[in-house]
Structures are given as C-alpha cells and as structure tokens.
C-alpha cells in the first residue's frame, strides 16, 4: 500500500510537531506555510523553561532533514475540495525572486535596498528592507514583492494606490494623478463618493487608523482644477477598426469608452437616455456630495478623446436594440439600475405621484432641476445610501421635518456609517424598527402612513437579524411626501420582445466573468445592470473588463 499522504496547514509550533509525528509514523507529509520560513523557534506555552532551552526546537531540524517531509514555504492554499476521502488542493508557491543556488550571502542587496519597513517577523519592533534575509538555517533570501499591496488588491480596479499615495508624499501631484488615470478616468468623482474598500483593508488600521486613500485621490484631482491644467488624454495614432455602441454614460460605460479609445478605437458612441452624463453619479448622487461640474469636466476629457455621446437617446424607444446591434460591431450595455422598487403596500399605486415618489425618481428630478412640491413632512423608507441621500436632499430642499424609517436598527443599516452620521448631524430624524403597511390619503393626496413596529428575530440569508412585526403595534404617522428607498432594479424594457439574453432571477444580465460577454455574440454588459445596485468603482471595473473583452472579440 502507498504511504498515507498528509497535508499540514501552517508551519508554526503545532504544524512542525504534527509533521514529525506523522512522518515518523510512515506518512508522506507536506507542510504548507504562507510565511517564507517555518517558525517553530518559540517560547513554549505548555511547560516552564530553563533560560537556555527557549527558542530551540529539535523538531525543526527533524522536519528539515526528514526524507518524508516536503516543506512548501511562502505558499498559499488556493483551493481545497474533498472527494471520496481524497482532498484535492491547488497550492501557489510564490517566487522568492532570488535564486538561492547562486546567492553567495554577501548581503549587498540588503545594503542598497532603499525600502525601510516595519519588520513583520519581529512583530513590528524593528525595521527591515524589502530584501528579506529570512532563515539562518537555509540561508534563503527573498525579495518581498507581492503582486499587489492589500489596498490595490482590494480595489475593484486595482488602482496602484501605494504609488499614487507615495507620489503625493513626494509632492508630485500630477504624476500621482497620471497613475490613477491609468485605470480610472473619473478620479474627482470617485474620489468624492467611493466607499473605499481599500481603506477597510489598509494595514495602517492596526497601529492606528487607515490611510485616507479616497480623499487623497480627490485631492490630486482637485489640484489639476485649481491649477487650471487641462490635460489631454493621448490616444494611439494607429487606429483600430470596429464600430462600438455603449448604452449608458454612467461609470461603467464611460470607463469602457475610455479604455477602448486608449486601445485605439475611434468609432465609439455612447447612447444616453438622459440629457446629462454620469448616470447615477449625476442623477443619483446629490450635488452636495459630488458637484455636477466635476463629472462634466471628467466626461469632457473622455469626449475629447473622440468618444461621441448622444444624449436624450433612449434605446428601445428612439432606437431599437436590434437596430443598434445590427449597426455596430460590438455593444456594451451599462444601463444601470434606475428603477426604484415598490413597497408593495395598499395605497402605494393609488397615490403614486401624489405624494409618493420612489427615491430614484426623487433624486433624479431634483438633480435635473425639476420643480417638486416641498411642504410639511418628508418620510424616507429604507436604510441604504439612497435613503440617506434622499433624506439629506429633502432637508436641503426645505421640508419642515425629515424622517428615515428603517425596519431594523442602526447596526444593520447598509448605508455608510459616515453618511448616517452626517444625516443625523443635519437634523434628519432616524426611526428604527418600524415598517409601513399602508399609504393613507385624502382628496387624492398622501396624508400619512400606517406603520407597524418590528423586533429583530433570527438571522436571515444576509446574516442580519430578520425584522419581525410586533402584532397589534400599528400606528399612524402624518406625512405630505413619502419616498420609498428600499432598493433599485434594472429596467430591461429596452430589449426587444423575445430576446435571447440569459437573465438572472434578479432581472440582471448573466455574463462571462472574465470578459463581460453576455451569451449573445458581440454584446457585453457590466455595472449595476449585471450586479444589481452596487458601488461606482465596481462599475468602472466592469467597464475596464468589458473594454478588454470587446477588444479581444473584435480582433479575433
């Protein structure tokens, strides 16, 4: 019989001990450790020591010299599946970037390395360079060059944050901006509104607080405006053939156009249903968070690259989708999620437009400067960023009182904490654990709402505790305007009837994750119309991805 094959995850004290045990019992052992060296030279936690027997671990020598033990250091377990008692794994062994058969241990590399960073192996007590002399027993060096630092890896478009932040520290603001624009054409817009997943990952949060990455991006974008610099986005002189249509001038469509233009395509048209660019950035994010002039400037720069935007052109109405497709070599759909979902309570349909208006419409009308009745009390229903935006907009418009009604508690609110705080700060009143059950009205106008109090029950699929109505706790609140902001959906009515697209159960496009291609040849999709309502930077990432997908499609 073959030897038993044992995988040991982790090369610390416990891992090394188990490896010796298993190997001595005849098994074939593999240790996978993510650090570049095994680390069993520790102070014991299970017995008292004599001063000279700490940091000595005889098992470590056994592990290194045992013929039945393979050591995979600087390695990650990427994939594990269990089938019929066999565990199949995919292991990534990172390159050391130093050939240790050639290295003569002169340490010249360490002397010249300009990098000075906290030594993670010494728990941050000392410093080291990017050349890591890691192990006195094996004399192995490695150069700590990760593919990406954690911030860059977390950013949906993989912005080279470390470089652009470093350049700001150097005072080289325009160089910093150029690095951002290498992947993101909207630094001023995204630098204002991004919920910055990168900061959530930032390693600086452990000693104190994460770097304010997002606002630094905004800073360099603003420098260019303050200095009145008009950048020109270069496009290659060699042009590529291919007529490309993009539906929607939101972050997904704009970044797709930007990347295609930089690849050399010069026949790109964006079809935009609204009279303004930016999609949700313009009609969903209020002016006080993102001034329209910032979006306009960034869009102008893209238009200057030779991208055409046709405004007030709604696909499915002004041009049929089939017509558009027949007239172009490739189509990208970045139509977003611009349909506010309904509460589905009695009275909602009856009073629609008579005091009840969904958040998408409410924010859009305000952004486009439409007149709206501002009187009395405004109640926004929901707990996401769109709810907070609607309430803060209502407060600015001059409603006497602005309420947000949310069925769970502040802790479960999906909105960004800083937005919730700002709303509270401005005087928006948040009421938790309540939900509407009926819209009330008189003489054809909304007069209020019947609500019911909720309590939190067991966690649901989202991991949040499910709100449960408390029987008999109904109450009525007065309101002149009610804005449901519970979620948004994609409006796919622009597609021809009997279309062939594969759609998800959420009424969004199903696409190839690598290329953004839909199942219909030559048609790509990305952004909210694929993911459902999501953050802008992920739509930008989808635009980047589809640009490469389209390029590949057109060139093959």
């Amino acid at each position: 019989m073959e030897d038993k094959r044992v995988l040991i995850v982790g090369g610390g004290l416990e891992g090394v001990r188990s490896a010796v045990e298993k190997a001595e019992a005849g098994a074939q052992v593999t240790i996978v450790e993510k650090f570049p060296a095994l680390g069993a030279e520790r102070i014991p936690r299970d017995r008292l020591i004599k001063p000279d027997d700490a940091f000595v671990n005889p098992e470590l020598d056994k592990v290194r010299n045992h013929s039945n033990i393979d050591i995979l250091t600087y390695s990650d377990l990427k994939k594990v599946t269990k089938e019929n008692g066999t565990v199949k794994t995919k292991i990534l062994k990172h390159s050391l970037r130093v050939d240790n058969t050639k290295c003569n241990d002169c340490k010249a590399c360490i002397k010249v390395c300009p990098v000075n960073m906290l030594d993670d192996f010494d728990e941050g007590l000392g410093f080291r360079t990017a050349v890591d002399y890691c192990n006195p027993n094996t004399d192995e060096y490695n150069i700590y060059k990760e593919d990406m630092p954690v911030c860059q890896r977390t950013c949906p478009v993989n912005l080279d944050i470390r470089s652009y932040v470093g350049l700001i520290a150097d005072g080289k603001y325009l160089d910093s901006l150029a690095i951002i624009r290498d992947r993101l054409p909207l630094p001023g817009s995204i630098g204002r509104v991004c919920p910055h997943p990168c900061e959530t990952a930032c390693n600086r949060q452990y000693p104190d607080e994460p770097i304010s990455i997002c606002f630094l991006k905004r800073f360099v974008a603003d420098v260019e405006i303050d200095e009145k610099i008009e950048p020109v986005y270069e496009t290659p002189s060699k042009k590529l053939s291919g007529k490309i249509a993009i539906i929607g001038a939101g972050p997904a469509g704009l970044s797709c156009a930007y990347d295609l233009a930089r690849l050399g395509y010069d026949n790109i048209t964006i079809f935009e249903a609204l009279p303004v660019p930016g999609g949700y950035l313009w009609v969903g994010i209020p002016e006080y968070r993102l001034p329209k002039k910032i979006i306009q400037r960034e869009v102008d720069l893209i238009v200057n690259m030779g991208v055409e935007i046709k405004y007030n052109t709604r696909i499915g109405q002004d041009i049929s989708f089939e017509g558009l497709r027949n007239d172009h070599d490739a189509v990208f759909i970045g139509a977003g999620c611009h349909q506010g979902l309904k509460l589905r309570v009695p009275g909602e349909d009856e009073y629609e437009g008579k005091g009840i208006v969904d958040c998408v419409t409410f924010l859009r009308e305000q952004a486009l400067g439409k007149q709206m009745e501002v009187k009395g009390k405004l109640i926004v229903i929901g707990g996401g960023n769109a709810a907070i935006d609607s309430a803060r907009v209502g407060w600015r418009m001059g409603f006497d009182e602005v309420y947000i009604l949310y069925r769970r508690t502040k802790k479960e609110m999906p909105a960004n904490s800083w937005e919730i705080e700002a709303a509270e700060h401005e005087g928006v009143i948040l009421q938790y654990l309540a939900a509407p059950i009926e819209i009330l009205g008189k003489n054809g106008m909304v007069t209020g709402m019947k609500c019911i109090r909720m309590e939190l029950g067991e966690p649901d699929a989202s991991g949040r505790r499910r709100p449960v109505p408390i029987e008999g706790s109904e109450y009525v609140i007065d309101a002149e305007t009610i804005v449901p902001a519970i979620s948004q959906g994609a409006d796919l009515s622009f597609l021809s009837e009997g279309h062939d697209f594969n759609l998800s159960r959420w009424n969004t496009f199903e696409i190839d994750e690598e290329t953004g291609a839909t199942n219909v040849p030559g048609v790509f999709a990305g952004g909210d119309v694929v993911t459902g309502p999501d953050i802008a930077i992920r739509a930008v990432a989808a635009g980047n991805r589809a640009a490469l997908g389209i390029h590949e499609y057109l060139r093959s």
Partner: protein
C-alpha cells in the same frame, strides 16, 4: 515598473500612532436650503501629511538597485510563481504563524504608548535572533527597564487561555531576568486553577518575579516622559504601581482563512 530607477521617499515611522486626517466640512448652518459641497477637500499640507502616513506595505519598488548590485546574479524578478496540484488523504489544520490576536481594551494603553508591548513582541525581543539580539529594552527610548509588568489582556478568558498565557508570561520573565541585571518583574493576572496546582510551587522560587492575582484595569502616563502607572484590582482593592515597560498578554485569534478551511473540511484546528 520593475527596472525603473527612481528616487522615492522613505518613510519615517516615528509617527505611529497618529490619527488620520479629517476632511474639513462646511457647517450645518451653511447647508440648509442649498446644495453646496459639504466636504471641502484636504489642504495641501494635510494631504502630504496624510500621504506620509502610508506604510507602503511590502514595498519592493522595483528600483532594481539590488539587482544591479548582485554580483552572482542571483536576483531575478522574473522567476515565476509555481502552481501545484496535490492530493492528500488527510489534512491537519493548525493556526500557523499568523500572530493575530483579539483586540485589547483601549484602557490598557496598547497602541497609545510605545513602552507598552504585547507578549508576542516581547517574545521577539527576547529571541537571540530578534531585533535587539535578546536584550530587553524599552522601544520608547532604548533604555534598559528596571521594573517590568506583565499584565493579562483578557482577564475574562477561559481556563485554557489563562493557563497558556500565564506559562508564557512566566517563561518570558525567566528569560528577561536571566538577561537583565537588577530587574523586577510583576505578573498581574487572574490565576487559573490548573496553573496553581501544576506550576505555582516552581514559580514561587524564581527570584525577581512577583505574581499578583489581580485584574489589570488601566495604564496611563500622567506626563509625557514619565513612567507608566498601572491600576489593577487585587482582592477587590484598587492599587497603583509605576513601571518602565509593560507587556500585555494577548489571546490568539484564528485567521479567517483558517476558520473557513476548517468549516469547509468540517474538522477542527490543532
């Protein structure tokens, strides 16, 4: 970026901890009835200061100075990563070398004062291959301390946690006392029953180590440059003592990847 040679800034780490820059805003009174942008943007000096806080994690810049300097040409940025497909009959999951620990309550001062360190940092300090070659010094001023407290960071912890952290604390004391003349170490922690039964008689013989069965409450520094004042309760009484260096005993935390793996394979962590 790899073979590009460019001079770059090198960060000074003397600003840890320091809070992040706050975004300036217009006042609430100025917002009502208009849509003026609330956040006004970082002024230049603040932006540069904030950018300098970046730790530039794992930051090989690709400057290639090492590559140019390496006589035997051992450095090669193009050595690829390897992907291996391996099969096993058994998997043993350990917590590995991830030294993550559960958050410590802020009253204990870790993160606020440079002369408060964790047991993991103390372990590195005591190691002959560590940052100070095994000498006990205060990270604040590199002075050799005379009075060191080792305090329990998780007094509410279970029997197992108390036992292993107490043993570690005592072992670290043994090493520190061996290496440092005229040192006093005071260990403040609830004492687990099994520790009392198995180790107490040996521990009592260690000269220079005093064990206090108590609960650490707070550490403060009344003035900058002064020594640390530890407040702890012993037998329901609140007591205060001054120290040059304080070591906090931490409680290990299993990393999310390891937890996920353990869930996936439906087996425990060794």
């Amino acid at each position: 970026m790899i073979y590009e040679k460019e001079k770059r800034y090198i960060i000074a780490f003397d600003d840890v901890p320091s809070p992040r820059a706050e975004m300036p805003e217009i006042s609430v009174d100025d917002r009502r009835g208009n849509f003026v942008e609330v956040e006004t943007g970082f002024p230049e000096a603040l932006a540069v200061q904030e950018a300098k806080r970046c730790l530039s994690c794992r930051r090989c810049l690709g400057c290639a100075l090492c590559w140019a300097e390496c006589k035997p040409e051992a450095i090669d940025f193009d050595i690829p990563d390897e992907e291996l497909d391996l099969e096993f009959d058994e998997v043993i999951i350990t917590k590995g070398q991830d030294n993550a620990f559960h958050p410590l309550k802020p009253e204990l001062g870790y993160g606020s004062y440079a002369d408060i360190i964790t047991d993991l940092q103390f372990e590195r300090m005591l190691s002959p291959t560590g940052p100070t070659d095994g000498i006990v010094v205060s990270p604040k001023d590199s002075e050799i301390p005379r009075r060191v407290a080792i305090i329990q960071g998780h007094p509410e912890g279970d029997e197992n946690h108390l036992l292993s952290s107490l043993i570690l604390g005592v072992n670290e004391s043994i090493l520190a006392l061996e290496k440092t003349g005229e040192l006093n170490v005071v260990l403040v922690s609830p004492i687990s029953q099994s520790f009392k039964e198995q180790f107490f008689s040996d521990v009592e013989k260690i000269s220079g180590l005093q064990i206090v069965e108590g609960v650490p409450e707070s550490v403060v520094k009344k003035q900058d440059g002064e020594s640390l004042t530890l407040t702890y309760s012993e037998d329901g009484q609140s007591k205060q003592e001054a120290f040059d260096l304080i070591v906090v005993l931490t409680k290990p935390k299993i990393s999310p990847e390891i937890k996920l793996l353990s869930q996936k394979l439906d087996q425990g962590i060794l």
